[in-house]
Symmetry: D2
Subunit: 332 residues, 4 copies
Amino acid sequence: MSWFDDSIMARKAIARGETRAEASLTEAEQGDYPYVYSAAITPKLRIDPGTVVTCETHDAFEGAIRSESDKPSEILNFPFLNPQNGPIWINGAEKGDTVAVYIESIVPRGPQPRGTTVIMPEFGGLVPTADTALLTAPLPERVRKVNITAEEGTVWNDRITLPYEPFIGTIGTAPQIEAISSLVPDYYGGNMDLPDVAPGAVVYLPVQAEGGFLFLGDCHAAQGDGELCGVAIEHPTVTTVRVDLIKGWTIRTPRLENADFYMTVGSSRPMEDAARGAYRELIRWLAADFGFDEIDAYMLLTQCGRVRLGNMVDPKYTLGASVLKSIVGIAK
Amino acid sequence: MSWFDDSIMARKAIARGETRAEASLTEAEQGDYPYVYSAAITPKLRIDPGTVVTCETHDAFEGAIRSESDKPSEILNFPFLNPQNGPIWINGAEKGDTVAVYIESIVPRGPQPRGTTVIMPEFGGLVPTADTALLTAPLPERVRKVNITAEEGTVWNDRITLPYEPFIGTIGTAPQIEAISSLVPDYYGGNMDLPDVAPGAVVYLPVQAEGGFLFLGDCHAAQGDGELCGVAIEHPTVTTVRVDLIKGWTIRTPRLENADFYMTVGSSRPMEDAARGAYRELIRWLAADFGFDEIDAYMLLTQCGRVRLGNMVDPKYTLGASVLKSIVGIAK
Amino acid sequence: MSWFDDSIMARKAIARGETRAEASLTEAEQGDYPYVYSAAITPKLRIDPGTVVTCETHDAFEGAIRSESDKPSEILNFPFLNPQNGPIWINGAEKGDTVAVYIESIVPRGPQPRGTTVIMPEFGGLVPTADTALLTAPLPERVRKVNITAEEGTVWNDRITLPYEPFIGTIGTAPQIEAISSLVPDYYGGNMDLPDVAPGAVVYLPVQAEGGFLFLGDCHAAQGDGELCGVAIEHPTVTTVRVDLIKGWTIRTPRLENADFYMTVGSSRPMEDAARGAYRELIRWLAADFGFDEIDAYMLLTQCGRVRLGNMVDPKYTLGASVLKSIVGIAK
Amino acid sequence: MSWFDDSIMARKAIARGETRAEASLTEAEQGDYPYVYSAAITPKLRIDPGTVVTCETHDAFEGAIRSESDKPSEILNFPFLNPQNGPIWINGAEKGDTVAVYIESIVPRGPQPRGTTVIMPEFGGLVPTADTALLTAPLPERVRKVNITAEEGTVWNDRITLPYEPFIGTIGTAPQIEAISSLVPDYYGGNMDLPDVAPGAVVYLPVQAEGGFLFLGDCHAAQGDGELCGVAIEHPTVTTVRVDLIKGWTIRTPRLENADFYMTVGSSRPMEDAARGAYRELIRWLAADFGFDEIDAYMLLTQCGRVRLGNMVDPKYTLGASVLKSIVGIAK
């Protein structure tokens, strides 16, 4: 894992990206799973930087959709959706610091068919919603239950199996004074639904409140760009993350690095604003830590920047903008 | 006030829109002014339907900007902005009910120059912001302090005086489980910045949590459509509202009526989504309570619907869609 | 008509806003009605500044929808919609000049029921469209034919009659090298659907190509803000305009003045961009011709600017931003 | 090139995707390069399906920017930008047919430094523009001239060389009655700036007017997702395309296939509408030609659809939505 040695986490975090302790949030230890990102919730766990935390995550419906004959609109109880593990208090975290989360692994759990995706009224990228409020009748509801294994992937039907490419759909810190639904992505992370938030990546999250208050959940076994109908292959997992803390490194919005690239994440509406936010932050990063002047970074990203659409369905749309390490080198 | 006798408030609310008690939230009674809309805050006041509440409101900056030589970016401490009176617990209010607020009066208070408007970085309709994130340099900061009286209005300069047309910039109920910054407008009301929320109007707000949790503040002495630079003529006031409760009338988003029209309010991004939301709700209202079929209402509003832009600067844009009572008659 | 004496048209145009000649474009004189705004079309009429032109306009469907049992999707032949009178060549007009059009009168013509509005697939503000492409089924088509007289207005049904408030839905000059569908609004005017383009107003249009190439059509007997379903009360008319030319006054986008206000017009998507465009142009106008500095104009319009939503259904949305003459005085 | 044998072009086009004739549009043969997509322009070349056409393309500035000390705002003469080769008349093409263009090769030409990128006022993704009209001052203009070879790529600076990954920035057919600037992307193609329009891909373009009127130009030596500052590595090329015709296959918007995937292209504003348009068309394609029901395709693409952002700077934003052939098989 040589790239990791050069990661910002390994070079700048308190525990240098190393594992120095272990902890867990099993279903029993977690108890109730919160539905908001808030620093007012009593932490479920308190850790030092350098702790690996193993979480038993629920799916976004908390397992309530069990059969293809279920009707989501009758079963689901908005706003009690997208239950999260945490909050995890990180000792020493203060406003202006950054939490670094290395994603070690995501393993599916629970009885088959473990995977769930649904069409439900007023939600999704190609239907009228509460935000894009139109008069046309909704699509019929539909539930799809699928088998998932880490080895074989997601069995869509006899003909199609999608590889198991799990990631954390929702992860973030708490806002300073707000308590925001876990359905929302924003400057602190949250429901970004960005497939790059996957095993082998480091996510950097800005600390807004003392202790950081890390939340995560909503793991997906597969997801296309945009999470088109609003519901990926939702599934319960055992998700293992290594959590560290970078003192004094202040970021406005989530960042990510993996073996290949550096990424910034923008969440906003309309979608061009998410793209603007992600790219502006990437330019500022290149200017701050890679020796570019801002305009030069702007011109260079015009030629080699990459965009990954996370979601086009949540209260804010999420996009990641990235640049290859092979082009810009390693951050200071 | 004959139109009021035919108002929904007068006909459907528990106290029939009448004054049956009085209460106040002076600065002393209010104590600390909250910065979030939340049902987790201990109510500052508990009232029965039919209570008139007199509130001493702060301006959106809590009076911190005192001189034209002040620099907003140094004085203001985000997210501690837009302080609110309340929350007010309304006895009997339950999820699915509607709070009716008749705005009796707004009177300026405090030493002159009472009025404040500013240009500050990353905020406003014609500058780059955190959402519309661009690379160009911000405008220089600027503070404008102005004298305001109810009789003469807002003295802009030697040549221009704007009439005193006060309204409540931010008013709403608490979300069910979230705590949202008072800078945000949404389905529960909040920072709508809609000039029709003025003395003589009734605002209808959906109850999400037991007790309703009414908040209000951010009164403006004058404001154009869109609140272009993001800061209207902010001023401290004595604002008097009559609060009543309509049991079993469930609305999705704020509504308003006055002598002339019925209005629905949409808050969303992009702006067309705010317009869609407001108009769809108005169509559904016409279908539910005025005897139109939905498509007929859609076609009729095409010919006579009216749109008022509240803000084009907040985290969500706000628009009101309205129709004249002289056209559609009185609601059932 | 004293305000007109102080209008920009009366003070700056070649013919000083006076009537110096008369001409017409009857159905016979017009012959074929163009469907694009283009300087490549042979002018139907050549006039000097100061000419009053009386036009027999068609409705947007060229009269093809005659009965409520007609099915628009079978009758209408996209892109052959929204037929225009013109182009009118204005002698002396060159790129960088401005055409001034004083709207003298609009009178309904043709057999009753003269008025038409329809619901058609993939068009309208509250349905999926080619742009906002969703999967939900379209609304059923519907045609509404209505009687219109100038005296009594538009008879919607037994209960509702809307006053006759006619305006020109589509008016503009030709782009320099493009030929754009008359369904589109843009910097040169076009399908703005802005109700303020009404008798008693002066519209200012930027000249892009020698001769100006003035087009107009698509008159509405009534329309609400946004033209919600996409089709106002369309009707054939006799529309009379006085056309003048202002040499060397260069404007980027259409402007308008009437007895009460000055307005700039923005057409763009998303809707906030239309608002930004309109307001920025109004600020620049206040700075250029009313003695304001740009930031002061920005702050003042925040307190008293007004927004009129033209359309929320065309390929670009149109908004007008305006300010009262009673506040800012008369333009230099 | 086995995948090509299974391509829609090879199976359905008149010449079966084969080369049956050769033609060219050298600078001399082309003569003047048009700046609009229009069926009113006299074709520069008439070909049968199955003809390979070799085009000498200009860069988007027609070579006018020669040195880093040039000032784009003084040299460029809007709207005379983005010169195109063509139009090419395709014998037999009628409205409702589809033109298939296999891109054989793109080779840089002209003296070094051949490559140009610039920052210019009111254009780009992270600056105020005519559409996103703000008050902040523009960035300083800047020109970057770079050496390009097919072998070594684009030399950005001493440290960074970008691989030569050329594609056609602007390609399309003529609208039926309009003449649209080559700066615009839309349903007929145009200025999509989509990097997948590269050698080895087949682009499918809808015929709107008899003869099809194929245009192409604006080749880029490198470009990131979104073409952030608005100007990729522009360069003159020899671009060779094989042009064929599919009778009776009607598509609404451009499509693309290569060895790996099928793609649909959406161009609209706001950006989410471009994404909606692309994805809806992909769903309809899966339903029409791959044996899916529409809702099933919607749910499947939620799990495996891919999005490529073309431009976030042109008058409409362009996005491609794609799905792997390895998942959905080969089109009927």
